[in-house]
Amino acid sequence: MAKKKIPIKEKVRKGNEEYAKENCRILAGKDILCINLMSSPGAGKTTLIEVTREFFGDDYRIAVIEGDLAGNIDEKRLMKSGIPVVQINTVSMCHLNAYMVNEVLEDLPLDDADFIFIENIGNLVCPAGVPLGEDVRVVILAITEGDDKPAKYPVIFHDADAVVINKIDFLRFMDVDVASIEEQIKAINPDASIFKVSAINGDGIGEWADWLAMKKKEKA
Protein backbone atom coordinates (compact mmCIF):
# COMPACT_ATOMS: atom_id res chain seq x y z
CA MET A 1 0.00 0.00 0.00
CA ALA A 2 1.39 3.40 -0.96
CA LYS A 3 0.93 6.63 0.90
CA LYS A 4 -0.09 9.69 -1.06
CA LYS A 5 -0.78 13.31 -0.19
CA ILE A 6 -3.57 14.99 -2.11
CA PRO A 7 -4.51 18.67 -2.13
CA ILE A 8 -8.13 19.67 -1.50
CA LYS A 9 -8.11 23.42 -0.76
CA GLU A 10 -11.84 23.75 -0.32
CA LYS A 11 -13.75 26.04 1.98
CA VAL A 12 -15.97 24.26 4.43
CA ARG A 13 -19.60 25.36 4.06
CA LYS A 14 -18.99 26.53 0.50
CA GLY A 15 -22.44 25.16 -0.23
CA ASN A 16 -23.97 27.61 2.22
CA GLU A 17 -22.31 30.54 0.48
CA GLU A 18 -23.78 29.46 -2.83
CA TYR A 19 -27.31 29.24 -1.44
CA ALA A 20 -26.85 32.59 0.29
CA LYS A 21 -25.95 34.15 -3.06
CA GLU A 22 -28.95 32.49 -4.67
CA ASN A 23 -31.24 33.92 -1.95
CA CYS A 24 -29.73 37.34 -2.57
CA ARG A 25 -30.42 36.97 -6.27
CA ILE A 26 -34.05 36.01 -5.67
CA LEU A 27 -34.57 39.07 -3.47
CA ALA A 28 -32.56 41.49 -5.60
CA GLY A 29 -35.25 41.85 -8.21
CA LYS A 30 -38.02 42.34 -5.66
CA ASP A 31 -37.22 45.61 -3.88
CA ILE A 32 -37.16 43.83 -0.53
CA LEU A 33 -34.83 44.40 2.41
CA CYS A 34 -33.99 41.13 4.14
CA ILE A 35 -33.06 41.18 7.83
CA ASN A 36 -31.29 38.37 9.67
CA LEU A 37 -32.53 38.76 13.25
CA MET A 38 -30.34 37.11 15.87
CA SER A 39 -30.40 36.96 19.66
CA SER A 40 -30.32 34.57 22.56
CA PRO A 41 -33.61 32.76 23.34
CA GLY A 42 -36.30 35.11 24.57
CA ALA A 43 -34.52 38.42 23.98
CA GLY A 44 -37.56 39.61 22.04
CA LYS A 45 -37.14 38.76 18.34
CA THR A 46 -40.78 37.88 17.71
CA THR A 47 -42.07 40.77 19.84
CA LEU A 48 -39.84 43.21 17.93
CA ILE A 49 -41.25 41.93 14.63
CA GLU A 50 -44.80 42.36 15.94
CA VAL A 51 -44.24 45.90 17.20
CA THR A 52 -42.38 46.90 14.03
CA ARG A 53 -45.23 45.72 11.89
CA GLU A 54 -47.65 47.66 14.11
CA PHE A 55 -45.51 50.77 13.77
CA PHE A 56 -45.29 50.49 9.98
CA GLY A 57 -49.06 50.17 9.67
CA ASP A 58 -49.95 50.56 6.00
CA ASP A 59 -46.60 52.16 5.08
CA TYR A 60 -44.66 48.93 4.60
CA ARG A 61 -45.53 45.27 4.28
CA ILE A 62 -43.51 42.64 6.06
CA ALA A 63 -43.16 38.88 5.81
CA VAL A 64 -41.33 36.52 8.13
CA ILE A 65 -39.32 33.31 8.11
CA GLU A 66 -39.42 31.80 11.60
CA GLY A 67 -36.64 29.52 12.81
CA ASP A 68 -37.06 27.30 15.85
CA LEU A 69 -35.82 23.87 16.82
CA ALA A 70 -39.38 22.62 17.19
CA GLY A 71 -43.00 23.64 16.91
CA ASN A 72 -44.75 26.58 15.34
CA ILE A 73 -45.58 28.75 18.34
CA ASP A 74 -44.01 31.86 16.81
CA GLU A 75 -45.59 31.18 13.42
CA LYS A 76 -49.05 31.04 15.01
CA ARG A 77 -48.31 34.21 16.96
CA LEU A 78 -47.43 36.15 13.83
CA MET A 79 -50.34 34.72 11.83
CA LYS A 80 -52.62 36.17 14.49
CA SER A 81 -51.26 39.60 13.61
CA GLY A 82 -51.96 38.88 9.94
CA ILE A 83 -48.27 38.65 9.01
CA PRO A 84 -47.36 36.22 6.19
CA VAL A 85 -45.01 33.70 7.79
CA VAL A 86 -43.35 30.35 7.16
CA GLN A 87 -41.87 28.25 9.92
CA ILE A 88 -38.63 26.28 9.68
CA ASN A 89 -37.86 23.59 12.26
CA THR A 90 -34.19 22.76 12.59
CA VAL A 91 -34.80 19.89 15.08
CA SER A 92 -31.33 19.86 16.61
CA MET A 93 -29.45 22.46 14.63
CA CYS A 94 -28.44 25.61 16.44
CA HIS A 95 -28.73 28.02 13.50
CA LEU A 96 -30.54 28.47 10.22
CA ASN A 97 -28.56 28.01 7.04
CA ALA A 98 -29.02 29.47 3.58
CA TYR A 99 -30.30 26.19 2.14
CA MET A 100 -33.19 26.02 4.63
CA VAL A 101 -34.08 29.62 3.84
CA ASN A 102 -33.87 28.93 0.12
CA GLU A 103 -36.38 26.09 0.42
CA VAL A 104 -39.10 28.31 1.89
CA LEU A 105 -38.25 31.76 0.54
CA GLU A 106 -40.56 31.59 -2.43
CA ASP A 107 -43.48 30.44 -0.27
CA LEU A 108 -43.66 34.02 0.96
CA PRO A 109 -45.54 36.70 -1.00
CA LEU A 110 -42.36 38.26 -2.37
CA ASP A 111 -44.23 40.60 -4.70
CA ASP A 112 -46.19 42.03 -1.79
CA ALA A 113 -43.46 42.56 0.77
CA ASP A 114 -41.09 45.41 1.60
CA PHE A 115 -39.20 43.67 4.39
CA ILE A 116 -38.44 40.05 5.13
CA PHE A 117 -37.41 39.25 8.66
CA ILE A 118 -35.63 35.97 9.22
CA GLU A 119 -35.92 35.11 12.90
CA ASN A 120 -32.88 32.96 13.52
CA ILE A 121 -32.56 30.28 16.21
CA GLY A 122 -32.13 31.78 19.68
CA ASN A 123 -28.37 31.64 20.12
CA LEU A 124 -25.59 34.24 20.34
CA VAL A 125 -22.89 31.92 19.01
CA CYS A 126 -23.69 29.79 16.01
CA PRO A 127 -25.82 32.01 13.71
CA ALA A 128 -22.91 34.48 13.58
CA GLY A 129 -20.90 32.54 11.03
CA VAL A 130 -23.69 31.48 8.69
CA PRO A 131 -24.90 34.07 6.16
CA LEU A 132 -28.40 33.49 4.81
CA GLY A 133 -28.39 35.96 1.94
CA GLU A 134 -29.65 38.83 4.09
CA ASP A 135 -29.03 42.53 3.43
CA VAL A 136 -28.61 43.49 7.07
CA ARG A 137 -27.68 41.63 10.22
CA VAL A 138 -29.35 42.70 13.45
CA VAL A 139 -28.56 41.44 16.94
CA ILE A 140 -31.07 41.92 19.76
CA LEU A 141 -29.75 42.02 23.28
CA ALA A 142 -32.19 42.28 26.20
CA ILE A 143 -30.89 44.15 29.22
CA THR A 144 -32.18 41.27 31.34
CA GLU A 145 -29.27 39.22 29.95
CA GLY A 146 -26.83 41.44 31.85
CA ASP A 147 -24.41 44.11 30.71
CA ASP A 148 -21.42 42.00 29.67
CA LYS A 149 -22.71 40.13 26.63
CA PRO A 150 -20.98 42.00 23.76
CA ALA A 151 -17.59 41.42 25.41
CA LYS A 152 -18.37 37.74 25.97
CA TYR A 153 -19.86 37.03 22.54
CA PRO A 154 -17.89 39.40 20.28
CA VAL A 155 -18.16 37.56 16.97
CA ILE A 156 -21.88 38.09 16.46
CA PHE A 157 -21.58 41.79 17.41
CA HIS A 158 -18.58 42.36 15.17
CA ASP A 159 -20.58 41.61 12.04
CA ALA A 160 -23.86 43.28 13.03
CA ASP A 161 -25.19 46.27 11.11
CA ALA A 162 -27.37 47.17 14.06
CA VAL A 163 -27.82 46.15 17.68
CA VAL A 164 -31.20 46.55 19.34
CA ILE A 165 -30.94 46.81 23.12
CA ASN A 166 -34.36 45.59 24.20
CA LYS A 167 -36.50 45.47 27.35
CA ILE A 168 -35.38 48.96 28.35
CA ASP A 169 -38.59 49.13 30.44
CA PHE A 170 -36.89 46.68 32.86
CA LEU A 171 -34.44 49.39 33.94
CA ARG A 172 -36.92 50.19 36.69
CA PHE A 173 -36.28 46.81 38.30
CA MET A 174 -32.72 46.02 37.37
CA ASP A 175 -29.33 47.56 37.88
CA VAL A 176 -27.91 47.24 34.36
CA ASP A 177 -25.25 49.52 32.91
CA VAL A 178 -26.65 50.30 29.45
CA ALA A 179 -23.85 52.79 28.71
CA SER A 180 -21.35 49.99 29.25
CA ILE A 181 -23.24 47.72 26.82
CA GLU A 182 -23.00 50.49 24.23
CA GLU A 183 -19.28 51.00 24.89
CA GLN A 184 -18.58 47.30 24.46
CA ILE A 185 -20.47 47.24 21.15
CA LYS A 186 -18.60 50.31 19.90
CA ALA A 187 -15.24 48.83 20.89
CA ILE A 188 -15.96 45.76 18.79
CA ASN A 189 -17.90 47.39 15.98
CA PRO A 190 -17.90 51.22 15.85
CA ASP A 191 -20.13 51.31 12.77
CA ALA A 192 -23.07 49.39 14.22
CA SER A 193 -26.22 51.45 14.73
CA ILE A 194 -27.51 51.04 18.26
CA PHE A 195 -31.17 51.33 19.30
CA LYS A 196 -32.55 51.26 22.81
CA VAL A 197 -36.11 50.03 22.75
CA SER A 198 -38.92 48.39 24.60
CA ALA A 199 -40.65 46.05 22.20
CA ILE A 200 -43.48 45.74 24.71
CA ASN A 201 -44.39 49.40 25.16
CA GLY A 202 -42.99 50.72 21.88
CA ASP A 203 -40.31 53.06 23.29
CA GLY A 204 -37.58 53.74 20.74
CA ILE A 205 -39.30 51.79 17.96
CA GLY A 206 -39.58 54.91 15.78
CA GLU A 207 -35.79 55.27 15.38
CA TRP A 208 -35.42 51.56 14.69
CA ALA A 209 -38.17 51.66 12.05
CA ASP A 210 -36.64 54.76 10.45
CA TRP A 211 -33.31 52.95 10.20
CA LEU A 212 -34.98 50.01 8.46
CA ALA A 213 -36.69 52.36 6.01
CA MET A 214 -33.37 54.12 5.36
CA LYS A 215 -31.59 50.82 4.71
CA LYS A 216 -34.33 49.87 2.29
CA LYS A 217 -33.91 53.14 0.38
CA GLU A 218 -30.13 52.66 0.32
CA LYS A 219 -30.59 49.25 -1.26
CA ALA A 220 -33.00 50.49 -3.94
Binding site: M1, A2, K3, K4, K5, I6, P7, I8, K9, E10, K11, V12, R13, G15, S92, M93, C94, H95, N97, V125, C126, A128, G129, A151, K152, P154, V155, H158, K186, A187, I188, N189, P190, D191
Partner: protein, 116 residues
Protein backbone atom coordinates in the same frame (compact mmCIF):
# COMPACT_ATOMS: atom_id res chain seq x y z
CA UNK B 1 -23.08 21.93 18.80
CA UNK B 2 -22.66 23.82 15.55
CA UNK B 3 -19.48 21.87 14.90
CA UNK B 4 -21.70 18.95 13.82
CA UNK B 5 -22.60 20.49 10.47
CA UNK B 6 -19.10 21.63 9.60
CA UNK B 7 -17.67 18.27 10.61
CA UNK B 8 -20.17 16.60 8.29
CA UNK B 9 -19.00 18.91 5.53
CA UNK B 10 -15.32 18.15 6.22
CA UNK B 11 -15.99 14.40 6.16
CA UNK B 12 -17.94 14.64 2.90
CA UNK B 13 -15.19 16.64 1.22
CA UNK B 14 -12.59 14.12 2.36
CA UNK B 15 -14.63 11.11 1.22
CA UNK B 16 -15.32 12.74 -2.17
CA UNK B 17 -11.63 13.40 -2.73
CA UNK B 18 -10.79 9.89 -1.54
CA UNK B 19 -13.13 8.36 -4.10
CA UNK B 20 -11.66 10.38 -6.96
CA UNK B 21 -8.17 9.26 -5.92
CA UNK B 22 -9.11 5.60 -5.34
CA UNK B 23 -8.02 5.74 -1.73
CA UNK B 24 -8.18 2.65 0.45
CA UNK B 25 -7.95 4.71 3.60
CA UNK B 26 -7.70 8.31 4.74
CA UNK B 27 -4.97 8.66 7.35
CA UNK B 28 -4.66 12.40 7.91
CA UNK B 29 -6.68 15.52 7.05
CA UNK B 30 -5.23 19.00 7.36
CA UNK B 31 -7.68 21.76 8.25
CA UNK B 32 -7.23 25.51 8.54
CA UNK B 33 -9.34 27.12 11.22
CA UNK B 34 -9.46 30.83 12.07
CA UNK B 35 -9.52 32.01 15.68
CA UNK B 36 -12.53 34.19 14.89
CA UNK B 37 -14.80 31.40 13.65
CA UNK B 38 -15.68 30.16 17.11
CA UNK B 39 -14.97 26.60 15.96
CA UNK B 40 -13.21 24.41 18.45
CA UNK B 41 -10.78 21.90 16.91
CA UNK B 42 -11.27 19.50 19.83
CA UNK B 43 -14.98 19.53 19.21
CA UNK B 44 -14.59 18.93 15.47
CA UNK B 45 -12.25 16.00 16.17
CA UNK B 46 -14.73 14.54 18.63
CA UNK B 47 -17.61 14.59 16.15
CA UNK B 48 -15.34 13.42 13.36
CA UNK B 49 -14.47 10.28 15.25
CA UNK B 50 -18.16 9.43 15.61
CA UNK B 51 -19.11 10.29 12.04
CA UNK B 52 -16.14 8.62 10.35
CA UNK B 53 -16.84 5.25 11.95
CA UNK B 54 -17.27 2.51 9.34
CA UNK B 55 -16.00 4.77 6.54
CA UNK B 56 -12.51 4.75 5.04
CA UNK B 57 -11.84 7.87 7.10
CA UNK B 58 -12.17 5.95 10.35
CA UNK B 59 -9.10 6.59 12.50
CA UNK B 60 -7.89 9.53 10.39
CA UNK B 61 -5.94 12.14 12.29
CA UNK B 62 -7.20 15.70 12.01
CA UNK B 63 -4.40 18.22 11.99
CA UNK B 64 -5.41 21.83 12.60
CA UNK B 65 -3.57 24.93 11.54
CA UNK B 66 -4.89 27.79 13.67
CA UNK B 67 -5.07 31.16 11.92
CA UNK B 68 -4.92 34.14 14.29
CA UNK B 69 -7.43 36.96 14.17
CA UNK B 70 -5.72 39.75 12.27
CA UNK B 71 -7.10 43.22 11.66
CA UNK B 72 -5.99 46.10 9.48
CA UNK B 73 -6.45 49.54 11.05
CA UNK B 74 -8.36 51.86 8.76
CA UNK B 75 -6.68 54.95 10.26
CA UNK B 76 -2.96 54.08 10.28
CA UNK B 77 -2.92 50.92 8.14
CA UNK B 78 -1.21 48.80 10.81
CA UNK B 79 -2.05 45.11 10.66
CA UNK B 80 -2.29 43.61 14.13
CA UNK B 81 -3.73 40.87 16.32
CA UNK B 82 -5.77 42.44 19.13
CA UNK B 83 -4.03 41.79 22.43
CA UNK B 84 -6.85 41.58 24.89
CA UNK B 85 -9.27 40.04 22.44
CA UNK B 86 -12.21 39.80 22.87
CA UNK B 87 -12.40 42.90 25.04
CA UNK B 88 -10.81 45.33 22.64
CA UNK B 89 -10.35 45.54 18.92
CA UNK B 90 -8.53 48.85 19.17
CA UNK B 91 -5.37 49.46 17.15
CA UNK B 92 -2.31 49.27 19.46
CA UNK B 93 -0.63 52.11 17.59
CA UNK B 94 -3.36 54.72 17.31
CA UNK B 95 -6.32 53.44 19.34
CA UNK B 96 -8.73 53.52 16.41
CA UNK B 97 -11.41 50.81 16.50
CA UNK B 98 -12.38 50.85 12.81
CA UNK B 99 -10.72 48.04 10.97
CA UNK B 100 -10.93 45.47 8.26
CA UNK B 101 -10.67 41.76 8.96
CA UNK B 102 -7.54 40.32 7.34
CA UNK B 103 -7.68 36.79 8.69
CA UNK B 104 -9.35 34.72 11.37
CA UNK B 105 -12.50 33.50 9.64
CA UNK B 106 -10.96 30.69 7.63
CA UNK B 107 -12.32 27.19 7.69
CA UNK B 108 -11.03 24.97 4.93
CA UNK B 109 -9.87 21.47 4.18
CA UNK B 110 -6.32 21.93 2.90
CA UNK B 111 -5.09 18.47 1.98
CA UNK B 112 -5.06 14.90 3.20
CA UNK B 113 -2.95 11.76 3.27
CA UNK B 114 -4.36 8.57 1.89
CA UNK B 115 -3.37 4.97 1.41
CA UNK B 116 -3.78 3.81 -2.15
Amino acid sequence: MHEVTVTQDILEKALDAAKVNNAKAITKIRIKVGDFTGFDPGCISFYFELMAKDTIAEGAVLEFEKIPLSLNCSACDLTFTPEDFPLSFACPACGNTRNRLVSGKELSVEDMEIDV
